[in-house]
């Protein structure tokens, strides 16, 4: 036998023995690319973000674009962050000169996914919906990212390999983490929402990159996409259920913990440290419980389970569930092994730590003072390094207020974001971080309640006590009506308040009327 043929055969044999038949398929088959690329769209968006410090107002209008791909039923899948706060959307398929209006049918800010609908069936003529892969790609397998990144106008195809599969934070929400795949191909501005292929299947949606590192892009893998598509089947997006508990990994490997709780050192599990009252786990899990398995997946001391040939955070198992789906936990409590099974439910109302993508933030202007709930968006308004530059009190309440008995029961913290100067408030000098505690002796727990208290006040004065030692604010009730009329005129306010309901900024633009 020819020696080179023998070597080639050996290489092929070795390749064939690796897991994942897609390795042999390559990132994208050359013959499939012309058809596949037709189903990839450029998504052009005009956005207008609200200004959380002047919440009736908006930041300058912006234009941007991302990518998306056809999945059937006149739907284009893309990222939520491409469409967030959009005012107008148009899509253009590869090779087609025409741009067609589209609207948002579903948007999942917690998973950074969204579905666009195009009402013109002709827009998809000759296109095949792209298929999602039914398995995760393996490490080091090749993929191709297709989309419309910056640096040109035409469709772009970049090759890379799968670098890592893990559980990480999704930046768009900043409060949710899900399964995520890291690739070493460039994912640039404009790639977002575009498909990532292995063979002729989509293995993920390109969506974020890590600016501090080179060759580090991230894609949303198929399990997360599939969950989104399952969720919207009933016509409503319910969203991922917050776990709502805290836990510590690796502590159960400590000999002291093993001896104290009678744990199995070979299967130490993770230790629960806190369960929020609003969590679906409340009453099912207790602090100090050791969680051993979730839906029969054994949890290691590192908090991970064996899945997809890797070790992935156990939270992924729970993350994939929809409301009313079953969850089974095995745990150790007070030295005894327990199994508990229940249907997961949506979380009760609680302070939202994610970025808000609402058409209009909620606010009240009273006496020229701007009252609005504390939110991540408000913290972001303190600049790029808001985690350092935003007021410490805001950060404390945002992250730790729930653990402080002084603030028990408060679902949102109302801050005074600013003052519209008027003679009625001429003596009021706002501290750096005013947070409303009480009004006329009534503890304030939400913006709606604050609105009610303001509306119902019949006392001569309106006294606002703030968190901490700041000077109380007192407004003269009898002067407020005149002052409000003057303030509305002077500052061009649409009204004196907006207390909801919250409407998603992108969803608020309705489908074109035919």
């Amino acid at each position: 036998m020819n020696f080179s043929v023998l070597i080639t055969a050996l290489i092929l044999l070795v390749q064939g023995s690796l897991t994942g038949s897609d390795i042999l398929a390559g990132p994208v088959q050359e013959k499939d690319l012309p058809q596949l690329r037709k189903s990839v769209f450029k998504v052009r968006v005009t956005t207008q973000d609200p200004d959380f410090r002047l919440p009736w107002s908006y930041l300058p209008i912006n234009r941007s674009h991302g990518s998306g791909f056809y999945i059937g039923q006149q739907r284009i899948l893309t990222n939520a962050h491409v469409l967030a706060n959009s005012r107008f959307i148009s899509v253009q398929r590869d090779g087609d000169p025409e741009s067609i209006p589209a609207y948002v049918e579903f948007i999942a800010h917690d998973a950074d996914l969204a579905l666009l609908k195009v009402d013109q069936p002709d827009a998809f003529k000759g296109l095949r919906p792209l298929s999602l892969s039914d398995s995760l790609p393996v490490l080091h397998s090749p993929v191709a990212t297709v989309g419309f990144p910056m640096g040109g106008e035409q469709i772009s195809v970049t090759k890379g390999i799968i670098s890592r599969i893990e559980w990480r934070r999704y930046v768009h929400s900043s409060a949710h983490s899900h399964l995520m795949i890291q690739v070493d191909s460039a994912i640039n501005s404009g790639n977002s929402g575009g498909p990532v292929f292995q063979g002729n299947k989509v293995v993920g949606v390109a969506f974020q990159s890590f600016s501090a590192a080179e060759n580090t892009g991230y894609i949303i893998p198929v399990p997360v996409i599939s969950r989104f598509l399952r969720d919207i089947k009933d016509g409503t997006y319910d969203g991922h259920i917050h776990a709502g508990f805290r836990f510590n990994t690796r502590v159960n490997s400590n000999r002291a913990n093993i001896l104290f709780y009678g744990l199995n050192p070979k299967h130490p599990g993770i230790k629960i440290s806190w369960v929020h009252e609003w969590s679906t786990f409340y009453g099912k899990l207790l602090a100090k419980d050791t969680l051993l398995s979730i839906n029969d997946h054994k949890i290691g001391g590192d908090g991970k389970v064996a899945l997809f040939g890797e070790r992935i955070s156990f939270l992924h198992i729970f993350d994939m569930l929809l409301p009313d789906e079953n969850l089974r936990l095995q745990l150790i409590r007070d030295g005894k092994k327990l199994t508990t099974q229940f249907k997961v439910k949506k979380s009760l109302p609680h302070p939202d730590q994610g970025n808000l993508y609402v058409k209009k933030p909620r606010w009240i202007v009273h006496g020229g003072l701007i009252f609005t709930p504390l939110s991540r968006n408000l913290l972001n308004s303190f600049g790029h390094r808001w985690y350092k530059s935003s007021p410490p009190l805001y950060k404390y309440l945002f992250y730790n207020g729930e653990f402080d008995a002084d603030f028990k029961g408060i679902t949102e913290y109302i801050v005074i974001a600013g003052k519209l100067p008027h003679p009625v408030n001429r003596y009021i000098n706002l501290s750096k971080s005013p947070v409303v505690r009480q009004v006329n002796g009534i503890e304030i727990e939400s913006l709606e309640q604050l609105s009610t208290v303001f509306y119902n006040n019949r006392s001569k004065h309106l006294k606002i006590d703030l968190v901490g030692l700041s000077e109380p604010i007192v407004l003269p009730q009898h002067e407020l009506e005149t002052a409000h009329n003057e303030i509305i005129q002077k500052y061009h306010l649409p009204s004196l308040s907006w207390t909801g309901p919250d409407e998603d900024g992108a969803l608020s633009i309705k489908r074109p009327h035919h």
């Binding site: 805290r246 836990f247 510590n248 990994t249 690796r250 502590v251 159960n252 490997s253 400590n254 000999r255 002291a256 913990n257 001896l259 104290f260 009678g262 230790k271 629960i272 440290s273 806190w274 602090a287 100090k288 001391g301 350092k388 530059s389 007021p391 410490p392 009190l393 950060k395 404390y396 992250y399 730790n400 653990f403 003596y427 009021i428 001569k460 004065h461 006294k463 968190v467 901490g468 030692l469 000077e471 109380p472 007192v474 407004l475 003269p476």
Partner: protein
Amino acid sequence: MKELTGLFFIFLFGCTAPNHSSVFTPDASVVLIRVYKQDHSQVDPWIKKKISTEHHLGTIVKGSDNERYILVTAWATIHSTEISMIRYQDKKVTPLQIKKVDYNSNLAILSPKDKKSLDGLIPVTIGPDIQTGSDINLFTDYNQVKIQNHKGSISAVGVYEGTTSSYQIPNYLLKIDKIALGWSEPVFYGNQLIAISSGQGKEYIFALPSMLIRKFLQSPPESITSDFPTPGFATQSLLSPELRDSLSVSELNHGIRIALVESNSPYANQIFPNDVLTKVGQYPIDKHQNYKHPVWGDIPWVAIYNQMSPGDPLSLEIYRNGKKLTVREELRPYRANDHLIWQDQYQSQAPWVIYGGLIIQELSKDYLKSWGKLWQQEANSTFLYYWFHKNMIHRPEKRIVFISKVLSDPVNAGYEPFTNVMIESINSKPVTSLESVRNAIASPVKKNEHEFTIFSLSEGRGEIILLHKEAVGSQRRIADRYNIFKKDHFFSELSR
């Protein structure tokens, strides 16, 4: 009676005419002070930082015992390892020791072991409080060679927190056409000392006026408690007519709001937040928190009790729900560390202990400052919340105790991520101080034939469990691994 005496004293000095006829010659009454300093690291508290050198000027004064001492700011002495004086007359270098230091007034006196080394040095005369606008001479020495005289004037008098304490004291704001000042330089009006410099701002030099110096020198040099008192409550201006109306004092054109009363204030349970304070002693208080000082005019009312002593009675006139009340109590000494968080660690470091590789500390202002210049924004947000909003609420013997970091060792495997975590209890015993930590650790929990130490942590962080014997037994190993030479900060049942 003491109040009246104090007032008379102020009036007398306020009327004293300045002596412009002779110019003071400093070489005989001012010396150069050289200080070597070495501070502790806050994050690795067994480590001392690099040694630095400062030069101050020291002024010869007479104490209440008629002995000669060298007056400097307290700041000059903090973290000092060695202090010496250099006489301008003969360049002789003499080691000094700290005789007395008061961090509230930021003043200190030094003395040599051998009193003869002060021979030939003449104590200065301490002058009165001086009006703003007055011309002054400040003596400094930039190059540690020769004293130079700089003319300036007193631009204003303000009340500020001292450099070495949060205690508020009056300061002259001097306008002098020079920079790099604020090193205990003496300030003269004629041939009398009227202040020593304590710092430099953007436009002014801060200087501690003679009223503080006189008071500081009045008490015996060997006294260890501060002679500066506090009434134990905080106030806020009352400018808003609506707020005044809501507090039923709209017919008054003066008075300020009581914002906080500390639980150990002499006036606790007699005055309350939202009471309106209209008079302190004999002085009406205006709505800007000022009273009329006989020399300085309108300055913050806290200067009234700066001139008094602990144990002096002070009456307050307050209004509550429109009714006038008078309360009278004896002032207590101001202790900066009588708060939730250590404010000054100049005399001793905030306590810390290492147990099982966990570094357990009481929270201090210095620890917060380890986050850098912008610590008031960038430090741990929970710690900052307590610093800004809870620190003044005095709880007897209550501190914030936390684990700053974990020195990795097999005994604490798995707990390395626990940094800057507050401890609520140990072995079910509430933790209120490092002493309570020691006591709690000394009573481990017995279970399954072992002894455990269980730390319950705040903010949903869970717990840390260590095997007590292994934790104690790990100390030598940890000390060797991390080059911790001082062993007395390791927890040991034998050390108590």
